[in-house]
């Protein structure tokens, strides 16, 4: 670090010789010494601030105005947030989003955990094969995933109902039945994410020293006890990471709804992100300020749950 040591040395020397020199000049020198570094950091900062941080500030700002498309309109304080509380559509979307996220995380986590433990078992062969197969849905677009499943769920020709018919069961209309639409979508989401969770859990399982299990086996602990006493506690951080991933990715669900149900039947699969899109761009009302407020609720949810799950698991370590 030629330049910075020069800078530091010069800084130290000058403070020694001129005691009145303000300490800020040392800071300025160390900043100047790193000028090339700033040049390297600048592009990513510009990109992320302009296309991610600035949009959220903009959304936050708009949420206090009665904004229509490009006109800012009058400042209305918290009125948009109050209207959200009175909006039946928003409350339904909010509830659906929470149920969708919570159930998706729970089910995906349990299945992924079982699969990771099984694949990790010492005598299991074809580990890579299983990992690759389980991961295929992860690298599939939600649009394609949505259409594949929409076709499989199709009531008269879909493979699911024709399969059930073999046993004399008349399958329901999965995506149009009030109480089945959301669970059917959760199933697709679980299918899409199992592989991701499983790969993370497996990588962390492989870090656990086999001596722990050997010692436990000598003490007479059976497989189930070993799982709950050794495996699960040591996977706490990895499980926490999966929960955070689930929170960030499931709360923002968008494409799946547009492709599979458009929010129906009777709003049973509407989520916050699709509610925002419809209110802002496709109902013709163009209630930008109102839907910006709904976006902020979604952002607050993501932030709060990310921080909570971080505190509970990763920090607690």
């Amino acid at each position: 670090m030629v330049r910075s040591t020069e800078g530091e040395r010069a800084g130290v020397a000058s403070t020694l010789q001129v005691p009145l020199l303000r300490p800020q000049s040392v800071v300025i020198r160390s900043i100047w010494a790193e000028r090339t570094s700033y040049l390297f950091i600048l592009p990513i900062l510009l990109l992320y601030v302009v296309f991610s941080i600035w949009p959220i500030i903009q959304t936050f700002h708009l949420s206090f105005y009665d904004a229509k498309i490009i006109r800012l309109g009058p400042f209305v304080g918290l009125k948009n947030y109050a209207s959200l509380l009175n909006s039946v559509g928003f409350k339904q979307a909010f509830g659906n989003t929470i149920v969708f996220t919570a159930l998706s995380i729970l089910i995906t986590l349990v299945i992924a955990l079982v699969l990771a433990v099984l694949v990790n078992a010492p005598r299991v062969k074809f580990k890579t094969f299983f990992k690759v197969i389980f991961f295929l849905p992860v690298v599939t677009s939600f649009v394609a995933a949505g259409y594949i499943w929409k076709w499989m769920y199709e009531p008269s020709f879909g493979v699911l109902n024709t399969f059930l018919a073999l046993f004399g069961i008349k399958g329901p209309n999965w995506l149009s039945t009030i109480d089945l639409a959301l669970p059917s979508m959760i199933a697709v989401n679980v299918w899409k994410w199992i592989g991701y969770f499983m790969v993370i859990l497996l990588a962390n399982l492989q870090l656990i020293e086999p001596e722990y299990y050997e010692a436990a086996a000598i003490d007479g602990a059976n497989t189930l006890q070993q799982f709950f006493r050794i495996t699960l506690p040591l996977l706490r951080v990895a499980i926490g990471l999966c929960v955070v991933l689930g929170v960030v990715n499931f709360l923002r669900t968008f494409a799946l709804v547009f492709v599979m149900t458009q929010g129906g039947p009777a709003g049973r699969t509407e989520v916050i992100a699709t509610f925002v899109y419809k209110e802002a761009f496709s109902t013709g009302l163009l209630r930008i300020g109102f839907s910006a407020a709904a976006s902020m609720v979604l952002f607050a949810l993501i932030m709060i749950f990310t921080i909570i799950s971080n505190r509970l698991t990763i920090r607690g370590e």
Partner: protein
């Protein structure tokens, strides 16, 4: 006693492979079903028979799609490629440049820059639909490639992968070079980038896979079908052109194959990218 344990262990082996095999079948079946549906004659698709194995295979659907003047499928594919490759390039170059000074040099304000980059993980596109539309509109970039490439290039996970990898490289090499009078640029180009190649490769793959799959950003920012990528094109086909399920699934197949292929060929790097992010981050 010994015979009993072997019996139990054989049983547990069978159960293990049984569960894994069944799950693998359930995970992979939807892909088989999608592809097979697009290759069947229509009469075998819209029927209450299950028909796991089609009697004949035909490329009729794909020929029909490619010759449909209302549906520029080749253009969709081309758009997908430009958008996702462009986003990948911008994403990986900016991340690599910043990862070196932020992880290994004492840059005043570096912590703040790192925090801002990581904070964007909590602001996915779906959360700031309106804000992104406003910003891109302000730059007059709605319905352009660059208008989609920049928002899609924001991908803090790829930055973290490179950052974490560079962070744990041995300090001796670049410090020795700096003492010998090498510039920061030379250290990055001749030492850090060659050493961080596996991480850069993983980050590139993950950036490409996520940009190619994205639906929200192009759905929000395109206004004419000559700018649609495949993901938006598939929805357009179904909702505007009232295409049959077979046509929509054929587009979905074209949308799916590139990422599946890239993943299967490079799975080692995809997994290592995900787990380095996962174990450290």
């Amino acid at each position: 006693m010994r015979r009993q344990t072997t019996f139990v262990s054989v049983l547990s082996q069978v159960a293990t492979y049984g569960i894994l095999g069944t799950t693998a079948f359930l995970m992979a079946f939807p892909f088989y079903w999608m592809v097979v549906t697009t290759l069947k004659p229509a009469a075998e698709v819209y029927t209450t028979e299950i028909g796991l194995i089609p009697s004949t295979l035909t490329l009729f659907m794909y020929r029909k799609l490619l010759s449909d003047p209302q549906l520029p499928v080749v253009r969709f594919f081309f758009n997908s490629a430009i958008i996702s490759l462009g986003a990948t390039l911008v994403c990986v170059v900016t991340a690599t440049l910043a990862a070196y000074p932020l992880s290994r040099r004492k840059v005043p304000g570096g912590k703040l820059a790192y925090f801002l980059i990581i904070a964007t993980m909590m602001v996915p596109g779906e959360v700031v639909l309106i804000g992104i539309f406003m910003v891109v509109n302000a730059f007059n970039m709605v319905n352009t490639y660059q208008g989609m490439i920049f928002p899609l290039a924001v991908n803090a996970v790829t930055f973290l992968i490179i950052y974490n990898y560079v962070l744990q490289l041995p300090k001796e090499m670049d410090e020795a070079a700096l003492v010998d009078g090498a510039s920061i640029w030379q250290v990055l180009w001749h030492i850090i980038i060659p050493l961080a190649q596996p991480a850069i490769y993983s980050a590139t793959l993950l950036a490409f896979l996520s940009a190619w799959q994205n639906f929200t950003i192009p759905y929000l920012l395109t206004q004419s079908n000559n700018m649609y990528p495949l993901s938006v094109g598939a929805l357009f086909t179904e909702t505007t052109l009232y295409a049959t399920m077979q046509e929509t699934l054929s587009l979905s197949t074209i949308l799916t194959i590139p990422t599946l292929l890239v993943f299967v060929l490079t799975q080692r790097f995809v997994f290592s990218g995900i787990t380095t992010g996962a174990i450290k981050g």
